[in-house]
Symmetry: C2
Subunit: 339 residues, 2 copies
Amino acid sequence: MSRHPGQGSPALIAANNHENGQTEMIRVVVDAMGGDYAPREIVRGAVEAARQPNIEVILVGQREAVEKELSGCDLDGARISTCWAEETVSMDEDPVRAIRRKPNSSIAVGIKLVKSSHSSAFVSGGSTGAVAAAALLILGKKKGISRPALGIVFTSPSGPVLFLDVGANPDCRPQHLVQFAEMGNVYMKRIFSISEPRIGLLSNGEEETKGDKLTRATYQLLAKGGLNFLGNVEGHDLPRGKADVVVTDGFTGNVVIKLSEGLGEVFAELSKQAVDNNPIFREAEKRILNYTALGGAFLLGVKGNVIITHGRSDAAAIKQAVRIAEQMVRQRVTEAIGH
Amino acid sequence: MSRHPGQGSPALIAANNHENGQTEMIRVVVDAMGGDYAPREIVRGAVEAARQPNIEVILVGQREAVEKELSGCDLDGARISTCWAEETVSMDEDPVRAIRRKPNSSIAVGIKLVKSSHSSAFVSGGSTGAVAAAALLILGKKKGISRPALGIVFTSPSGPVLFLDVGANPDCRPQHLVQFAEMGNVYMKRIFSISEPRIGLLSNGEEETKGDKLTRATYQLLAKGGLNFLGNVEGHDLPRGKADVVVTDGFTGNVVIKLSEGLGEVFAELSKQAVDNNPIFREAEKRILNYTALGGAFLLGVKGNVIITHGRSDAAAIKQAVRIAEQMVRQRVTEAIGH
């Protein structure tokens, strides 16, 4: 490791500075080896992010690959350091086994930097399963949270919408969906300053009698709970932004984001046929359909800030992911979830 | 009823003619009262359909409303007749109760015309639940089918794709999804002459270990079965046409079609901002995103041909729905499902 933690815990120092009204320096670990365009685009995005005020970035990955990319970057004004991790986890490895057998993978090393409070957040475009497994095994769950969930934020005509779970938990029980709603409530309050986020439950009809067994049972729990529960929202309500937080199981949520992405691509291709590179279409694709262009998903409910970027992330997406990490740290989202 | 059945059963006569290589006349009942633009657009679409070769249409609905609309239509060359049904089922009524309590609703009367073999198919834009309930209660299920499913066909760059269930069964067991695959296999063979339809299972990952419990168990059954099973398909594979038939539970399927519709609308609005009424966008919306523009959903597994159009269907959509009904009858899809 080319950078060593000082005496104090950066996370705690950050929190204290925040309380004092100062803008604290946030340290974010970026996995240089994760993603389709790694390490080049990741390193470039990380360097860009490290030029932002009050952000420090630690790149974790294979020394040779990372140094080669860094040598091609203008590092002037970038608060960037490196940490070597010679193993990598591939997309088709069993996540839990990969994390157990490769303690020197960039994912495991990166998450351990968060665990040791050397860094406040971890950003990776590697295997979602492996990052989630590392977060669970190394950081652990927040008390009161039985199932951490993967959330994304997309924009809608009514504002940002947090959608979760998008894949961490294919099979859920009603209490899990209620916890997703509670975590989403915290996120939208803290990150977007929405005082009473409107909570929606994704279903196949508006009425409370609609839904599969899971959804119908969840409806009853949410209706009795203390959140601002709107009721069921349907597939067509999602892009409209009818609710600020929409919860579903990780199977349905994953189908939803991948379908949106696929439709966005088809849309983009057709747009090109009609009006080559019209900026409105590029904006539309980015804003409404390609949720993943918004900087990545985040894992809620673990003891640390973990951002999982899309495999196809380029430098701009990595920079945006570091910005999400920064917001989560500054607004102390993880501290406010569970106990 | 202004038209009475003759001695022979039209459905049987039709089938016999078909065997003899002649083009038989197909009689389709259209529910004049179902849909947001009923009765006007329904009546107009029905009249258009009734001008097609070898198609007869029976409009079922409230006398006063239907006669008023018919009086404004050019009926020249249209083989159209009427059947009065003075009750209507609203969208928010409990489906089973509505069908039981309103034997003279347009839905119940229309389905009974199919039951009595007076007509070969029923087309309605009314409450999906009520039409499905009437089909189950009056026509009954085909033997060997435990759960009739609602399917839609959308076009993809690789050709038509049948997607089911889109809402009839929010909670399914693995055997139900296998039956959906078998019914879809029959449909694509008969209607699109695909000799060995590629069957896909919607899941949250390609690998057979991905999925919720239902999907993982279904994978094992389909892998052992006699269909051309491709394996799992993901959300982004859907618009690409990776499989000819994609099966899922009715909860996920319903979310998928409504989300696609919602994204299509957002897309259309943005297109208008950029290029007012560019025909490529209108075509794109119709072809890829707005599955419902393709003429409606059909109920597979009941003893009769039942087509449920989108609530927003206009005359063109109704005409297209009658065309789907005709194809189902001519290709004897229902006869080939179950036993």
